[in-house]
Structure formats: structure tokens, C-alpha cells
Subunit: 300 residues, 2 copies
């Protein structure tokens, strides 16, 4: 259906027919839940997450909420509050049709730290990646402007050092506290941090300077208020860089998975083959095929 105001479409009931099979994961700290189920005969994953409390809605929240006292002790009291519905939305993300890989990705699992030597990468990790067929179509859609073109914050179209900068799915863009952007490079032959060499310094420095400029211009946030980093392992093997608000402890920004872009640049300046030879630690999940492969290779 169409919304009354005409510029957004509304579909009141798209998730009403969702049949839950299992809860994959939930976080009381982050107020989200990941659910696996069926939608219109197809496998699907639905992610529900409460939205951040916006500073500019606080007065309306306090004035418009219906309160119920739960506890009072000395100067402290707690209440349950029912705020006006339009001030208290959820974010819903639908993956449909979802593959077994999506289900696995979201499932809560035991996590183990692996130490991957350059040799491990060539003999264990790379063959495993090549045997997988996680589609990068959605990345190419973005680079080709076939999807999300209206979300692009900045683009440098150069095929060698260019990139597209856009908001990450996880960010609802309602407040800057949890700013989360992704820079996706136009080059299609760099799988990850592991593939980076001295020759890619121009690309990385370009992302750093133009990405930071774009964030300053669009959001008025200085480079020293940003965390700019790469993941290893990444969740998809087309080179991309994460830019988040420094004060936001984004999932995946912990030291065992994140690598500051400024450190990556410094490492490649010191040694163009740093990431070919270096032992890289990364967290692997119990039901990842990769952890299995490391086990089989006697590297666990």
C-alpha cells in the first residue's frame, strides 16, 4: 500500500505471515533479536532492533509517556513507560530468501581465536574461500548504481583508487552517535586485508583522505572523531572499509577483528608485503567451515 504522504511506501502486513522456526540470537544489551523462519513459503531471517533514543525527542517522550512506578528507594525510582507510538519505532530487517549461510551467519556460536600465518592463508583459507559461493551481486549492484544509488554519500569513480561511500545497513541515519558508513572500492580483485600490498597504498590513502573529507562535509564530524578500520576476516570478500563514530562501540570494532586503516597504511609503508607474510589473529565461529578447515589442517 501507499503512505498518505506519498513519498514512502508502506506495507503494513509484510511480516504478519512470518512463521518463526527459531531464535538465532538476541542481545539484551543491544535490544535486538534475530529470528529464522518462513515467509510466503521461503526461508527468511528477520532482525528486529529497538532504535536509539534521539535527543530531540526526549521532551516529547517525557511529556507524552504513560508511566507506571516499579520501584522506589531513597532518591532512586524506576518506572515502566509507554511512549507515543511514533516516538518509539523498531527497525526491522528482512533477508528473504535466506540461505543456510545467512542463518549460520546470524546464529550465536562459540568463538575461537585463530592465528593464520601467510602459509595458512594460501593452503587453508584461500582454497576454502574459493570453494564457497557467497554472492557479491549486492556489492556490484551498489557499484553499478543498480541499487541504493540514492543512499550514496560520496563517490570517487576512479577504477583504480575510487570507492563508493554509503551508510551501513545497521545505521538508521537518525542520529550521528552511531554513525556507520562503508567505503566499497571499485576494484574487484582485492578480497581482503590479506591481499593488500604496497601498490595499494594510493587506494588506501585515497579512501582515508576523501572518506574523511566526505564525512566532515556531510556530517560535520572531524577525522579524529572517527574509527576507520577493516575487518579480518571480513563478512564478504570484496575490499571495504568501515567508518564509525569513535564514541560508538560498534560490534566488530574489538581488537581481535578490527584493523585501523592508519595502522594498515603504516604497515604497508614499512613493508609492502606485510600482509602477505604476517600472522593475523581472527575470531572464528564454531560452525564456520573455516574453523573446521583449520582443525583438519592441524592448526587448532
Amino acid at each position: 500500500g501507499e503512505e498518505g504522504n506519498g513519498h514512502v511506501s508502506s506495507d503494513v502486513s509484510v511480516l504478519a505471515g512470518f512463521e518463526t522456526k527459531s531464535v538465532l540470537r538476541d542481545s539484551a544489551r543491544e535490544k535486538n533479536i534475530f529470528i529464522h523462519g518462513m515467509l510466503a513459503g521461503q526461508e527468511a531471517v528477520v532482525i528486529l532492533e529497538k532504535t536509539p533514543i534521539r535527543e530531540d525527542t526526549v521532551s516529547a517522550l517525557l511529556e507524552g509517556s504513560r508511566l507506571t512506578l516499579e520501584m522506589r528507594n531513597d532518591i532512586y525510582s524506576t518506572y515502566r513507560a509507554q511512549p507515543p507510538v511514533q516516538l518509539n519505532e523498531l527497525k526491522a530487517t528482512l533477508v528473504c530468501p535466506a540461505t543456510e549461510k545467512h542463518v549460520k551467519k546470524y546464529q550465536r556460536r562459540g568463538t575461537f581465536l585463530l592465528w593464520e600465518t601467510g602459509e595458512d592463508y594460501r593452503t587453508v583459507t584461500l582454497p576454502f574461500l574459493l570453494s564457497q559461493s557467497f554472492s557479491l551481486q549486492w556489492v556490484y549492484n551498489i557499484l553499478d548504481k543498480k541499487a541504493e544509488a540514492d543512499r550514496i554519500v560520496f563517490e570517487d569513480p576512479d577504477p583504480q583508487v575510487g570507492f563508493v561511500l554509503l551508510p551501513d545497513f545497521k545505521w538508521d541515519q537518525k542520529q550521528l552517535d552511531d554513525l556507520y558508513l562503508i567505503a566499497i572500492v571499485h576494484k574487484r580483485d582485492i578480497k581482503s586485508l590479506r591481499d593488500l600490498r604496497g601498490e595499494h597504498l594510493r587506494l588506501l590513502e585515497n579512501i582515508r583522505s576523501k572518506g574523511e573529507d566526505a564525512v566532515r562535509q556531510r556530517y560535520d564530524i572531524a577525522p579524529n572523531r572517527l574509527r576507520v578500520f577493516l575487518h579480518y576476516q571480513p563478512s564478504y570478500y570484496h575490499l571495504h572499509v568501515h567508518l564509525t563514530a569513535l564514541s560508538y562501540e560498534a560490534p566488530g570494532s574489538t581488537v581481535e577483528r578490527a584493523h585501523l586503516l592508519s595502522d594498515v597504511i603504516q604497515n604497508l609503508q614499512a613493508d609492502p608485503d606485510y600482509y602477505r607474510d604476517r600472522t593475523l589473529a581472527f575470531p572464528a565461529h564454531a560452525d564456520d567451515g573455516l574453523l573446521e578447515k583449520f582443525k583438519e589442517a592441524g592448526r587448532l
Copy 2:
């Protein structure tokens, strides 16, 4: 007023008269906000927080929510959802009257990323540290068994490569999910990561192997379930190493502050003077003296 059901009391409007002075802190990840203001002529702090999404309400949430499509790309789509009001409450906490200490406790400080060259350390950071008189007496009390002796998990008494391993203050030791230990070295002349040289490799490797063994013996946790890291800047300038459960995203484990011990060892193996010369990024707070010093030196 009284609720109709009789066993909870309701006060629809207790916060309606709250006058906001400032937002002390908010977390987009945790969906909360801390507000300082006045209530009925008294200083007050109000904390609003979204509630976790309960598994047993998911069906009702999916059936009862009004959805608006925000983005669609390939198999992914995102929506804004307005759920039934009784399924989407907030938690409100009121501190009233609040003292200045409450206000300070909840206040967030602006955080800026600094990039400290080896030269910056010698000309800005080190003189600043030496001008401060942070007492290390509490550290020496632990090393000398004058305090917390009963909390020690493991000790290697060797004066050159030895250390004391004990639970961090932040860990209540009630569950292993958030295990947090600290290894404090017996040597008293290493301020931080910045002072580490090739000659300290034996010390670091000793902490790694004996610390991991002790955690395995005492808590039955394997080394690949641990995050073992140093802070830069540390919160006190006597060398210590953090050991946390890998699955616990402990505060201070983000990439801009944490350095994996295994990476530190690898870096010193490659270059004994790595931490003398390397540019190290670290987060500094607006009301830290150190940030001021970097400003004065024109390094911000």
C-alpha cells in the same frame, strides 16, 4: 493515581514537568540516554532506556506492527516498524534530588583519536606523565602482598620475567562469560607498551604462556577463548596485560585502544625498536590533560 488492576501504582505525569538542562550521555548501541535537569525545583537525573526484545513477544510484534519500507536491495530489505504500545515499553529511572556527583558520574566526555609519533611521546606525552603524580602504591601493595593477596590467581615471582595474575575490579567472578584478569609485571621500570623493546620478549612470552596456562587450570578456558591485550594509553603506567573472555566485548577492547599481546610479540620479533618509533593511535578525553598538551604542541 492508581492503576485499574490494583497491584501497581501509576503516575502518568511524574516526568512531564521535567526541564532538561543537558544530555549527559547516550548510547546508540544500548539505546539509552542520561539527562540532567530540574524536577519540581530539584536537581534530577532521568535515565531512559529501551527494553530488550522478549522472545515470547516476537509473534505478537510481527503480527501487530505497522511497517514502512525504507530500503530494498536484492534479498535485503529494511523497514521502520510501529509495534503495539504495550509490547514496546521504555524503562525510566529517576534520581531526585541528584547531587553533582551523580551528574559527573553519568557525564560522557568527548573522545578524540590522537596519533602519537615516537617523537610526540618523548616531547609531549612523557614530560606530561612525569609531571603527574599518579600514585602506583596500590600496584606495589599487590606485588608486595600487602593488599589483595587472597585474590591472586597465579604468580611467577621472578623479578625479570615474573608477574602477578588476579581478577580485575570490574569482574565480580560470578560467571565466566565476562572473565577479566590482569597480569601485573614485577619489573617496575616499564611504563607502558611504548617502553617495550626486543629485550622484553622473554617477559611477554612468559606472561602469554604462563598466564594462559593458569587460566586453563583455574577456569578451564583454552587460550583461543581469550583476548589477551595491552592498553595504550594505559590507565596506570606500570606494565600490565589484560586477559578477558573472547566472547565478552569488554570496555576498552576496541581497536583504537587495545593491542593483542600476540601482535606485540610479533612486532618486537620483527623490529626490537618497533614501539620506540611507531606512530600509535589512542583515544584521549576532552578533560584529559594529555589532550591539552597535544593541542598546545600543535599536534591536534
